[in-house]
Amino acid sequence: MRIGVLALQGGFIEHIQMLRSLQADAFEIRRKEDLEGAMDGLILPGGESTVMGKLLADLGMTERLQGRIAGGGLPVLGTCAGMILLAREITGPGAAYLGAISIEVRRNAYGRQLGSFHTEAPFKGIGPVPMTFIRAPWIERAAPEVEILARVDGRPVAARQENALVTSFHPELTTDNRVHRFFIDIICRKRKTP
C-alpha cells in the first residue's frame, strides 16, 4: 500500500513515521510529478494552511489534487491545516483550497498558542483517543452527507465524507495509531470495491 504525504511544509515527517510503523509504504509529495504515480491514499499534514495552499497553487498541484480526490475517489486524510485545505468553506475572509469535503471550518478557533490543549474524547468506531490541538480549527458547519466522528465541548473536530477524513487535532503527534489505522481501513475497503 502506497500512501503519499504532502511534504510542502509542516509536520509531514510525523505522519510518515506513523505510517511506516504500520507497515505502509509512505512517500513525500513535493512536486506535481509526485502526484502522477501509483497512490492508494494521501495525507495532508498539519502546518500552516496559508503556506501549503499557496505552494499548492504556485507549484501547479491544486487541480491535479482535486482531480485525484474528487474525480478519482482517492482516500485522503487531512489533519489540522490539512483539514482546512480540504474544506469547502473557510469562515471569514480567504478562499477555500481543495473543497473536497462539505464542511465550513474556522481557523485558529481555539485562539492563539495559549489556547492549544491536549484532551481525550470518543471517536466513532474507535473509542476514546488522545487529541492534541495546536492553534487548531474546528468544524463550524457540516452538510448532511458529512458524518461527524468526534466532538470536543460540543464542537465537531473529526468528520468523514466518503473518501475524505478530517481531524482538527494531530493524531500523528501522539503514540496512538488508531486514527491512522482507521484511515488505512478506508483505503483497504476502497481497494476491494473499485
Binding site: A7, L8, Q9, G10, G11, F12, I13, E14, R30, R31, G46, G47, E48, T50, V51, K54, L55, D58, L59, C80, A81, G94, R107, N108, G111, R112, Q113, L114, S116, F117, H118, T132, I134, R135, H170, L173
Partner: protein, 295 residues
C-alpha cells in the same frame, strides 16, 4: 518539580514548533509587511520595530517592541506571531505572554538585560525559541525551557557564514555525541556544561530534542536551501527580505527554496530575476558580534 500541566504545556509548545518545520519565519515591522509575508507563504512572522540591519545601523539600546505594534500585527494575519525579548528580561516576557504572543524569541539581537542569567523559561506557558551557536548553548537553553532552537548566525548582516558555522558546529557535535560510549556521556555532559539527560537524548536520537531552525544572515533562496541541506528544519529571515529590492518576490522565492531545497532545477528558476539582494556587510567588517551575547 514540574507539574503535569506544565509538562503538557511544554509538549504543546514543542508541537507548535513541529508545525512550523519546512517553513520560513519572516521579520516584519508593520501590519502591511506582515500581510505581504503571509501572502508570500511565511509560516510565522516575527514582529519587531526595527529589523536587525537597522538595529545594527542605529546602535543604542534595543528593547522589546511596543505591545500595541505587536497587537496590530496579530490582528493582520492568521499565522503565528512571534516577538523578541532581551536576554534575561523576564518582565518583557511576562508582557508578551499577557498579550498572548505565539512564540517568544529570547534574542541576542536585542541588547542583553542580564549578562549571566537567561530567562527561566519553564515558568512560562508561552513557548520560547532561543539562539545557539553550538550544542552546549542549545542544550542549556532547552534545559531552561526553550521549546525551539535556532542558530544565532550574525543578524542584520546578510552574510550567511556565521549561520553555516553554527549549524555545522551543532550537527558535527551531535554526531560526536552519538558515537560516544554510554559511560563517556557523563564526562561529555560535564565538558559541554549541559544536563546529562538532555545529552543522553541527543546520543540516542541523533538530534536535538526540539526543532532546530537556521537564522542570522540568510538573504537569498540559495542561502535558505544551503541551511536546509546542512540540516536546518526551517529558516528565519530577518533583514534579508524587507531590505531587498522586491520584498514580496524575494519572500516567495525563499519560501519555495525551503520546500524544494534539494531540487537545483527549481532553485535555479526561483533565484532568477529577484531584484537587488540586501547589500550586506561581511563578518570581518562589523564591530558588534551579536552571536557572542548569551552563551
Amino acid at each position: 518539580m514540574q507539574t503535569e500541566a506544565a509538562k503538557q504545556q511544554y509538549e504543546l509548545n514543542r508541537n507548535l514548533a513541529q508545525m512550523l518545520k519546512g517553513g520560513v519565519i519572516m521579520d516584519v515591522s508593520t501590519p502591511q509587511q506582515a500581510r505581504i509575508a503571509e501572502e508570500a507563504g511565511a509560516a510565522a512572522v516575527m514582529a519587531l520595530e526595527r529589523i536587525p540591519a537597522d538595529i545594527r545601523a542605529a546602535g543604542g539600546v534595543s528593547r522589546m517592541s511596543d505591545p500595541q505594534m505587536i497587537r496590530g500585527i496579530q490582528e493582520a494575519v492568521s499565522i503565528p506571531v512571534m516577538a523578541k525579548v532581551r536576554i534575561g528580561h523576564f518582565v518583557e516576557a511576562q508582557i508578551l505572554e499577557a498579550i498572548e504572543i505565539d512564540y517568544i524569541d529570547e534574542s541576542e539581537v536585542l541588547s542583553p538585560a542580564d549578562d549571566k542569567f537567561h530567562i527561566d523559561k519553564s515558568l512560562f506557558r508561552v513557548p520560547f525559541v532561543c539562539g545557539a551557536k553550538n550544542l552546549g548553548e542549545a542544550l542549556r537553553r532547552i534545559a531552561e525551557g526553550a521549546s525551539m532552537i535556532r542558530t544565532k548566525g550574525e543578524p542584520g548582516t546578510g552574510d550567511v557564514i556565521q549561520a553555516v558555522r553554527h549549524l555545522r558546529a551543532m550537527t558535527s557535535e551531535i554526531r560526536r555525541v552519538q558515537s560516544l560510549k554510554e559511560d563517556e556521556l557523563y564526562y561529555a555532559a560535564k565538558e559541554l556544561q549541559v544536563p546529562y539527560e538532555l545529552l543522553r537524548s541527543v546520543h540516542e536520537n541523533g538530534r536535538l530534542p526540539v526543532v532546530n531552525f537556521a537564522a542570522g544572515g540568510v538573504a537569498t533562496p540559495a542561502d535558505a536551501a544551503l541551511m536546509m541541506q546542512l540540516g536546518a528544519e526551517g529558516v528565519f529571515v530577518g533583514s534579508g527580505i524587507f531590505k531587498s529590492g522586491n520584498p514580496a518576490r524575494r519572500a516567495q522565492a525563499i519560501v519555495k527554496a525551503v520546500t524544494n531545497f534539494n531540487n537545483p532545477a527549481i532553485l535555479a528558476e526561483i533565484s532568477a530575476d529577484l531584484g537587488e539582494a540586501m547589500v550586506g556587510i561581511n563578518e570581518s567588517e562589523i564591530q558588534l558580534l551579536m552571536a557572542e551575547r548569551g552563551i
